[in-house]
């Protein structure tokens, strides 16, 4: 799920950036630092949408670096248990397949793939139904439900299922092209 929230961060700035465009430097550094990172509590920071306020800078002894507390608005993405997501399959193997929904990696185990789909190894490993009408392979788009999340400091890893109504392949690269 996406959230638009306000976060705070202490930014360290090198003295050589002090000047007219200090603020721009600060913002661009913030973006560089924060966008794409992941925190266990808030999830992935997708984009910074605005700066709320920049606090007073504090000069650090010895180095000349200055610390600014910056409050910024950002869009974060955090997967939840039970959430339905659409994801792109990145890898298929006999244990199941990995899919990515933006920055989140999701693993769907073969136990959580409908029983009528079987693993076919080969050049392009895939899961196919017995009649061959549905195929999950690399780059397929699937709709899945998250059943568990593991949140580390730097990564969110989920396991999902497609063994439910209305879940499964939503577009097939083979048929689309």
């Amino acid at each position: 799920m996406f959230f638009h929230i306000v976060l705070e961060r202490n930014m360290q700035l090198h003295p050589r950036h002090f000047g007219r465009d200090l603020r721009e430097k600060l913002v661009s550094k913030l973006m560089k630092d924060v966008e794409g990172t992941c925190s266990g509590r808030h999830g992935f920071v997708v984009a910074i949408t605005g700066i709320e306020n920049v606090g007073k800078g504090l000069i650090r002894d010895g180095t000349g670096f200055v610390t600014f507390p910056v409050k910024y608005q950002c869009v974060v993405f955090r997967p939840f248990k039970g959430e339905i997501l659409e994801a792109v399959v990145t890898m298929v193997n006999k244990m199941g397949f990995f899919a990515e929904a933006g920055p989140v990696q999701i693993f769907v185990s073969n136990h959580l793939i409908p029983d009528d789909m079987e693993f076919q190894s080969g050049d392009m490993p895939n899961y196919t139904t017995s009649d061959g009408s549905v195929k999950i392979q690399k780059d397929s788009e699937v709709r899945l439900k998250i059943i568990g999340t593991r949140v580390d400091a730097t990564e969110i890893f989920c396991i999902g299922t497609i063994k439910d109504d209305f879940l499964g392949v939503i577009s097939d690269p083979a048929t689309a092209s």
Partner: protein, 584 residues
């Protein structure tokens, strides 16, 4: 209580009972006990020795008049012995103590208490070829101490080898058995009648794999009960904890779920998860089993995979399938052996001096990376680039850890060092890409996190790899990609470099991140270095510019920019003399 020497213990005891019925209160003894394990003696309980003598007068089978008084201390032990008697019942797991099947797991199918014999179900270890030879009377030089591996009996296979297979019906049970050379088979299992003495039934902890083998494909979930009963017997103390989710597996309340409220010895107080029931129920812990749902994050607390953590993928009866956090592999365990935990571990990561992902020397020729640590052994991916070869080695088989930092040359003769990202151009893992973890004798061990086998490690010849220059600069989000080129010169561990005092003043991201995409010599610009020689020796600073053989450095401690010979700085990317900067 008095001991009494005699021949047929049971018989005498029964005689005494008969006597007491006949004579009524005349017989002044209180009880008589014959114990199976105690030969030649029976116990008689009486107030006086004379009463015992009186009662035993005229008994047959008496060899001696000796009567021994049992000391008061031992009196209670006489009868408490009974509790030690093994309760062998159907469907219990036992292990064979002797013979070909020594140590094998077996399931009790029938118990004959009178003759002290049990019928057990085993996975046969039969060498059909040898059997055929024997039946046809051929003499074959016998290889000694050869135990055939356990394998299900295939009747058709036996027939093909001209072994006579009879199909017989057991008159007692009505079941059909295949009879081969006096051995009984059913569904591939061997049914064997053995003496109770030749099996051990105490502390049997069947491993998951063993139980899986015994499980027949058609067996329904209730078939678990047998295995469960044994498992329960081996539960540790404090198995259940407050807050655990449990499910009833026996009795009227079967399949009721609830939460543990309180644990007292064997009794567990449960708050059931159903309307119209008491708020708490006190039940025996044997009736309970832990319960999990897919998605729970758990830790394995006993069994072969002890210590592994992962997320539950499916729950099948009382087994759960866990996706291990580290290896991304499926682990099948009993739900009884796991606890809910938010912890993420790799399980055991260290035995002795060796840790997971260490490069070790096995003997003079072979070396490899530890990819998995088991309870007493390591799995090592050997440094053979043609194919991935994994061996299981014990601690003592490892000579030592290889920590020396070396370099290798890639396809285009560029220097490859540890942490560089390379792409494999040839061989079975062609196209894979990842950071180099170890280098030894021109062999690279590359860690690709998308590679699922061998904990992501790939072994490749350095000549068949190419350093990926571009992705080094922008592939790493944390910005430690640039300094990574020389981290190996300073820190033996794989911790991303945090250049000395700078780490206090500013995050390490500062230096690398700002100059993303820099290539070649310019990659030096912006990095923080230390001057190693010359008048500015010991100074630290930021590289402003590279001018041919010299660099201009903005010193950290003084407000000036100085020019220093390129060879005088410690973080020189030109690795012409790699060892000279080992003393930064």
């Amino acid at each position: 209580m008095v001991r009494y020497a005699i021949g047929r213990e049971r018989e005498v005891a029964v005689c005494l009972m008969q006597k007491s019925i006949d004579k009524g209160s005349e017989l002044q003894i209180r009880s008589a006990i014959a114990l199976d394990h105690l030969k030649n003696y029976i116990y008689i309980e009486a107030d006086k020795e004379a009463h015992v003598r009186e009662a035993c007068r005229g008994m047959r089978n008496r060899y001696s008049n000796k009567i021994i008084l049992v000391p008061i201390k031992e009196m209670t032990d006489v009868l408490s012995v009974e509790s030690k008697a093994i309760d062998l019942s159907r469907d219990t797991w036992v292990r064979m103590k002797i013979g070909t099947y020594k140590g094998d797991l077996a399931k009790v199918v029938d118990v004959d208490n009178v003759r002290q014999r049990v019928t057990v179900k085993l996975i046969p270890r039969i060498d059909l070829q040898a059997l055929a030879n024997k039946l046809e009377g051929r003499e074959v030089p016998k290889k000694k101490a050869f135990v055939p591996p356990p394998r299900f009996m295939n009747v058709d296979e036996a027939r093909e080898m001209h072994i006579r297979v009879e199909r017989r019906c057991n008159p007692m049970t009505g079941d059909y058995f295949e009879n081969i050379n006096g051995m009984m088979f059913k569904d591939g299992f061997l049914y064997k009648t053995v003496s109770m003495k030749s099996i051990s039934s105490q502390n049997i902890q069947p491993t998951f794999d063993e139980l899986e083998k015994f499980r027949q494909p058609g067996e329904n979930r209730d078939g678990d009960m047998a295995s469960l009963s044994t498992l329960f017997a081996n539960r540790k103390k404090g198995h259940f904890m407050k807050g655990d989710r449990v499910i009833f597996v026996k009795g009227d309340l079967k399949n009721l779920k609830g939460w543990v409220e309180k644990v007292e010895e064997d009794t567990v107080h449960i708050r059931p998860n159903a309307e119209g029931l008491l708020s708490t129920l006190a039940v025996n812990e044997k009736e309970l089993c832990k319960f999990f749902e897919p998605g729970n994050h758990v830790k394995v607390v006993s069994g072969a995979t002890e210590g592994t953590t992962g997320m539950i993928i499916t729950v099948e009866g009382h087994r759960v399938v866990i996706l291990s956090d580290t290896s991304k592999e499926h682990v099948r365990v009993f739900s009884d052996n796991v606890v809910e935990s938010s912890e993420v571990t790799t399980g055991v990561t260290r035995i002795g001096n060796y840790e997971l992902h260490d490069l070790v020397l096995l003997d003079n020729m072979t070396f490899g990376v530890i990819i998995h640590v088991e309870s007493e052994a390591f799995q090592v991916l050997k440094g053979v680039p043609e194919r991935s070869e994994v061996v299981l080695v014990r601690l003592r088989e490892i000579k030592y850890k290889l920590e020396k930092k070396t370099y290798a040359q890639d396809w285009s003769k560029n220097t490859v060092s540890v942490k560089d990202i390379v792409r494999i151009l040839e061989g079975p893992c062609k196209g894979k890409q990842g950071p180099v973890e170890h280098i030894f004798r021109g062999i690279l061990f590359i860690c690709d996190r998308h590679h699922l086998e061998h904990a992501g490690f790939i072994c490749a010849k350095s000549q068949f790899c190419v350093v990926v220059g571009g992705s080094r600069a922008n592939g790493d989000r944390n910005g430690d990609a640039l300094p990574s080129r020389f981290t190996h010169l300073r820190t033996p561990t794989h911790v991303p470099q945090s250049p000395g005092r700078l780490s206090r003043g500013g995050p390490p991201i500062d230096s690398g991140g700002r100059h993303r995409g820099g290539r070649g010599h310019d990659s030096l610009v912006g990095t923080t270095i230390k001057v190693r020689q010359g008048p500015f020796k010991g100074y630290r600073g930021r590289v402003v510019e590279v001018k041919g053989p010299s660099v201009r450095i903005e010193l950290e401690s003084q407000m000036k920019v100085v020019t220093v010979d390129r060879n005088y700085i410690s973080d020189n990317v030109v690795i012409s003399t790699p060892y000279r900067s080992d003393n930064p």
